[in-house]
């Protein structure tokens, strides 16, 4: 059977599975729609959290980032896993004990203020939409490359699938489809990694393979060989970074704290039966995530080695089929600067920005780009780092069914995250804005209908952003984490660990953290991209890491304002006492 047929079969079968689960697990009440009835087993929830968490960025982009950044990419590895320690120790069990449906629910109740709740909703919607546009884009890329359909149609099909199980099933449907999606995506990620690790090092376990010697009889360690190869070509060594220490520190901190403050992750812990289950569940989630996250560095390093081996100093006419496939999808370009028909990989960009293809073909048959060549670099190959994972099985010469599996895995990762994000967006509209703020008299049936309408609207907006990605989407991914770190995390943390924190302090803290972080990123990413260099940064912190400073600012402002204003009412102090002890978690949700 040819690869194309296999891809259709794998992707079709996985979609049929998701829809089957959706029909089986329809939500009948708001409680089922928002928190899956609150009775999800902690291991199941951990697996669903892992799928929810690992997005198209984790599955498709991260190994590529690691491949091209080397040590500097450690910020993502530590940042996106270390946050779970903060979640398990500082937030999840207490929020579960609090026992309501959404993150703004907690902030609004703990800070006895509708204004605080609305500020939290604004943060949440901004964070979630930034994130979701990227997911839909990921769906489009996988469809266009593997299923040969236009990106637009791919996004529409993806929207349709998410619509069926998110709108019908709510959190209940999402939870069980995410479990299936985790299984698909982890299998799809691990199989090529085992193959590659075995081919390159002779050891099939990628985590060990990366620390082993290359299986070509030379006895050189993989990382050593990679360092040598890269420095030969004029790149920096793989295991050294180029970012400053303070920047690496701040980005890691912003990603960790941001992870703990992301609403679509936090609400997953509202679905388990007890506070102690929330702790357990966070542990399981990290185990399931770590499986992929400890494999990714190996995949990245192997991919970089393989890529250089296959492409560098190869004449274009001899280039492998995958190279030309990705070139056809605009994600690889060869600009023959010295006219020898041979591809030279060197450090530096071949040209500025992304490739602009015309219709002409060059003397070797390559697609000619009209970009002005970068005279300072002898590099002739442009490669979009997002393709590394998707192209890996082809680069490594793996069988067709592995390629099909990777296509299904990429879709599973993007769809599961998109669904989780859609749910927090629609519940914040129907529950926090409608039911709790503007229309408290709405019936349960009415609220459920409103939630489904909001979910539908959110899917349409997300799809639109996926089809017509505004230029700023890729530029502002740092927003999601930085904003969560600077706004939601400190407010939730102080709400649990300080009985003295009051609404004035919390609101002032959230608003100042949010505005500072937003302003800093907007200044460098949108208003003055030309100034976005280390010399102009505050204390040398890049926009990606500024959320760490925003978080500190939030704490300082909140504590200062709190000292000057009245203590919270006795009722709120009793609430804090009650969420601190696990006993009675089952009762707390009967509100």
């Amino acid at each position: 059977m040819d690869t194309q047929t296999l891809i259709y079969m794998f992707v079709g079968a996985s979609f049929a599975l998701y829809i089957g689960i959706a029909i089986w697990s329809r939500a009948a009440s708001t409680k089922e729609f928002y928190v899956a009835g609150g009775g999800v087993n902690p291991v199941v929830n951990g697996m669903a959290t892992a799928a929810d968490w690992m997005s198209a960025a984790s599955f498709i982009s991260m190994a590529g980032l690691i491949a091209f950044l080397g040590y500097d990419a450690s910020v993502y590895l530590m940042g996106w896993t270390g946050g779970y320690v903060l979640l398990a120790l500082l937030l999840a069990p207490y929020l579960r004990k609090f026992g309501q449906f959404t993150v703004p629910d907690f902030i609004g109740t703990r800070y006895y203020s509708k204004a605080a709740r609305v500020v939290a909703v604004v943060c949440l919607i901004f964070i979630s939409f930034t994130y979701i546009a990227g997911q839909m884009r990921g769906v489009g890329i996988v469809f266009s490359r593997f299923l040969d359909v236009p990106i637009t149609l791919g996004v529409v099909i993806g929207m349709g699938i998410v619509f069926v199980y998110a709108v019908l099933g709510g959190m209940k449907g999402i939870t069980y489809t995410q479990v299936a999606q985790y299984c698909v995506l982890i299998f799809a990620y691990m199989v090529p990694a085992f193959f590659l690790s075995f081919i390159i090092t002779g050891n099939p376990i990628p985590q060990i393979g990366l620390g082993s010697t290359v299986a070509d009889g030379s006895g050189v360690y993989v990382l050593k060989k990679l360092n040598l190869t890269l420095t030969d070509l004029g790149f920096g060594a793989y295991t050294d970074g180029s970012k400053s220490m303070i920047d690496v520190f701040c980005i890691t901190l912003a990603l960790m704290v941001g992870t703990a403050g992301l609403p679509h992750v936090i609400v997953r812990f509202f679905t388990v039966p007890k506070a102690s289950d929330a702790r357990k569940s966070a542990g399981w989630a990290l185990v399931f995530i770590a499986l992929l996250y400890t494999t990714a560095p190996a995949v990245g390093a192997f991919a970089r080695l393989n890529f250089i081996d296959t492409v560098n100093e190869t004449s274009y006419s001899q280039a492998p089929a995958w190279f030309k496939n990705w070139e056809r999808n605009d994600l690889i370009a060869f600009q023959d600067k010295n006219g020898d028909g041979v591809m030279q990989l060197r450090s530096g960009d071949a040209f500025d920005g992304g490739p602009v293809f015309g219709n002409a073909t060059g003397p070797s048959g390559e697609r000619v780009v009209s970009n002005v060549p970068n005279a300072e670099s002898a590099n002739e190959v442009y490669v979009d780092q997002d393709i590394m994972v998707l192209a890996n099985p082809e680069i490594g010469g793996l069988p067709g069914w592995v390629i099909a599996l990777v296509a299904a895995g990429g879709l599973a990762a993007a769809l599961s995250t998109a669904a989780g994000l859609l749910l927090v967006i629609c519940s914040s509209v129907s529950h926090d804005l409608l039911k709790s703020t503007f229309r408290p008299e709405i019936s349960e049936k009415g609220e459920l209908l409103a939630a489904r309408i909001a979910a539908t609207a959110a899917i349409v907006v997300a799809g639109y952003l996926g089809i017509y990605p505004p230029g700023w989407v890729a530029q502002v991914v740092a927003f999601a984490f930085g904003l969560a770190a600077a706004s939601l995390f400190p407010a939730i943390f102080m709400g649990i660990f300080s009985k003295r924190m009051n609404k004035e302090g919390a609101i002032a803290g959230m608003v100042s953290g949010l505005l500072f972080t937003f302003g800093y990123i907007a200044w460098f990413k949108l208003a003055n991209p030309a100034d976005n260099v280390a010399a102009n940064w505050l204390f040398g912190i890049s926009p990606e890491g500024i959320g760490a400073a925003g978080m500190v600012l939030n704490f300082v402002v909140a504590i200062a304002v709190c000292k000057m204003t009245a203590s919270p009412p006795a009722k709120v102090r009793r609430l804090v006492d009650s969420i601190r002890v696990p006993r009675g978690a089952r009762d707390a949700q009967q509100h």
């Binding site: 590895l77 270390g82 120790l89 620390g211 702790r279 542990g283 009967q590």
Partner: protein, 92 residues
């Protein structure tokens, strides 16, 4: 809300449980900080002179080791908290 049914003052057991919890949290977060920000970032250059297989040690902490330590930390917290909750009879 459920807080109407809760006692106004925290009991002695609840107070002691919370203090023990905070002490446990602080020591675990210290390890959390030491293995990621410490070994993986601040002292990486120093640790990179040692090797663990083909991995320079600081690089290993940044891309592998800290993640394993994170898992162990959560496991310890889950187990220790369960015994604390039994000790003070506050489990759910």
């Amino acid at each position: 809300m459920s807080d109407d049914t809760q006692p106004t003052e925290t009991s002695a057991a609840e107070g002691a449980y919370w203090r023990d919890n905070i002490r446990l949290l602080c020591s675990l977060l210290l390890v959390w900080f030491a293995c990621s920000f410490g070994a993986g970032i601040l002292f990486r250059d120093f640790l990179d002179q040692f090797m663990i297989g083909g991995y320079p040690l600081g690089f290993w902490f940044a891309q592998q080791g800290s993640i394993y330590v994170f898992i162990v930390l959560i496991v310890i917290y889950v187990v220790r908290m369960r015994s604390l909750e039994r000790k003070y009879d506050l489990d759910d």
